[in-house]
């Protein structure tokens, strides 16, 4: 077996001392044939292969060996082509490695025959692979003639990703395999997470670029369910913790090099965002502290870190959180994320009027789409309230419409007041007018009972009222809407809804 191993590297095996067994001599002949073939000495290889005694030819695959070495000729003779075609039925053909090598070599020397055989055996991948390799070799040879000689065929980044996705990393030399595994992992992100994770483990074990591997881990974690938040880049949900841990790991690797400070800070920020998303406040604050320690010479990161810290401490220290974002807005009045935190703080305190005023102010100060949508909805709501006050047919008491205090409705549940309520919920006047007084009275009674027990003006009361209004909206349509034209679809430009998007730092409801 040692003789065979030496032969595979092109070294001629030592001549056995005589006398010795025929089998050993035959083995020596086969090994010599392979060594000659490896060195490119086709005639020598064929001569050795033909020297194997008859009874052992089958056992040592001497015929296959002979065919194999003939394939190394620059041009195939008719005899060699026939032998190559006949090798399909040889025993060696049952070995996948032989089959692949055989088809590859045959495609090189006799493309039509090689492709036919490959196609016959369903080896379409092999045809494509070798076509690609031939093209690369040609391109590489052309490049080498123009520039310095290069022993390798270079792929571009996208080409390499396509290649490893299709054929795997095993085709690359040992020295290039860690990078090839990394490329294959990148190619699998978003397509096969388990495979990508396995490939990254292998790439790291073989010494692949650590930063790139950690970056790939972060991308893999963030690709969780295949849907990233366009604002923060994270997949909201169970993978946030995994992504935060990956970002933290990457940040700690990056922080070792002072030149990488902007990247390390950004990785810590990503980690903090992930920890906050996953509900790990203390870990988020630790990441923010690490980022701050490196951001002293990079003031551009200050505002982002202040806003992030405000979010992290919002629960326990709302006043300090407010002071942080107000300071940010002093410096950067157009910071949408600082405005959103300020609005969120007002919202959490139940200061609805102040939150609405902040939304209007923020929309005017920034170009943020969600803030502008929210502001538009608030303005329309206020306009609707004003017009309700002026609608004589509704007959609503002035005080109710003017104060916007829905709680007051519970004290005087009546049909006219329910008309006001339904109009405010967005039900068209025609639909409201089509409802009977009995139905309206029933709605009013339900509204009254729902609000029992909830403090007036509280968030809970509002939530109950709006939940009921949603239902009434649907029911009133069912009862009265059949005779009327179809309502506008929710989200249409003519009827904006208050989504609460501006009250989320991620721009999501």
């Amino acid at each position: 077996v040692d003789i065979l191993r030496q032969a595979a590297s092109g070294a001629a095996p030592k001549t056995p001392s005589e006398p010795c067994a025929t089998g050993v001599l035959a083995l020596h002949a086969v090994a010599s044939a392979a060594a000659c073939a490896t060195r490119g000495d086709v005639n020598g290889a064929v001569g050795w292969a033909r020297g194997v005694p008859g009874p052992l030819r089958s056992m040592l695959l001497a015929d296959e060996m002979e065919t194999a070495v003939i394939l190394a000729e620059e041009t195939l003779s008719p005899e060699a082509t026939a032998r190559a075609a006949a090798m399909q039925s040889a025993r060696a053909w049952s070995w996948a490695t032989v089959r692949k090598a055989f088809v590859a070599e045959l495609i090189d020397k006799a493309p039509d025959l090689g492709r036919n055989i490959a196609r016959h055996y369903g080896m379409v991948d092999q045809i494509e692979l070798h076509t690609m390799l031939q093209q690369l070799r040609k391109a590489s040879a052309g490049k080498a003639s123009l520039e310095s000689p290069s022993p390798h065929a270079r792929l571009n980044v996208q080409g390499a990703l396509d290649f490893v996705r299709r054929f795997g990393a095993e085709l690359f030399r040992d020295a290039d395999r860690p990078t090839a595994l990394l490329y294959e992992a990148f190619a699998c992100i978003g397509k096969d997470r388990r495979k990508a994770a396995r490939l990254l483990d292998r790439a790291l074990a073989k010494g692949a670029d650590l930063i790139e591997a950690l970056r790939a881990r972060l991308l893999l974690a963030m690709s969780g369910t295949g849907l990233m938040c366009p604002d923060c880049g994270f997949t909201h949900g169970h993978s946030a913790k995994e992504a935060a841990a990956a970002a933290d790991h990457l940040a700690h690797a990056l922080r070792r090099d002072p030149e990488a400070a902007p990247l390390a800070i950004t990785a810590f920020i990503l980690a903090a965002e992930g920890w906050l998303e996953a509900g790990f406040g203390s870990k988020a604050r630790a990441s923010i502290l690490e980022a701050r320690a490196r951001a002293q010479a990079l003031p551009a990161f200050g505002s982002r870190l202040d806003v992030l810290e405000a979010v992290a401490i919002m629960e326990g220290e709302p006043n300090r959180a407010r002071a942080l974002v107000e300071a940010v807005l002093e410096r950067e009045p157009t910071s949408a994320e600082a405005w959103k935190v300020l609005i969120l703080l007002a919202d959490r305190e139940g200061a609805q009027e102040r939150a609405d005023a902040l939304v209007l102010e923020a929309a005017a100060a920034t170009n943020d789409l969600s803030l502008r949508e929210e502001a538009r909805a608030i303005r329309e709501e206020r306009d609707a309230a004003r017009s309700d006050e002026q609608e004589p047919e509704i007959g609503a008491p002035d005080g109710v419409a003017r104060s916007h205090n829905l709680a007051a409705l519970s004290e005087d549940p009546s049909a006219p007041i329910m008309r006001v309520v339904l109009r405010k919920a967005g039900v068209p006047a025609a639909v409201v007018n089509a409802l009977s007084d009995e139905r309206l009275m029933a709605y009013a009674a339900e509204l009254n009972s729902l609000m029992d027990g909830a403090p007036r003006g509280s968030a809970e009361m509002k939530r109950r009222v709006f939940a009921l209004l949603d239902r009434l909206f649907e029911e009133s349509w069912k009862e009265a809407g059949k005779r009327l034209p179809k309502p506008r679809q929710p989200g249409s430009s003519a009827a904006p809804k208050r989504t609460g998007a501006a009250r989320s730092i991620h721009g999501k409801g």
Binding site: E18, V30, A101, A153, F172, R173, T179, E212, A260
Partner: protein
Amino acid sequence: MNLMSVLEPYQKARALLGVSSRASPSEVKTAYRKLVVEHPPDTDPQKFQQLRDAYELLTDGGARAKQILLRPLPAIDPPALSEQGDVATRGATAIAVLRTIASRIDLDVLLDDTPVAGARRP
């Protein structure tokens, strides 16, 4: 550990503006202004854009760094395909056959034989 891959944009930007990695934001700004005067946008728009990009990267508040970190492509050079690899090279099939023989060889059969003179040399 190789940080070159992700640091390359920063290194190029610093080289373009002629500032060191320890340069403060004000030093970066001074260098940028000086170069912009030398390469105004109306006479040298390409160079001006390069300077602008470099300046924005070095004074960035995280957006560009985030793009670099979350770029879904590897930032290192692709692996090279060896022309001398196992596939479609001279003698590859012979070696594959040889490996097959090595994996299935029965040494007992080979050794249990009558001694004869040396094998025929081509």
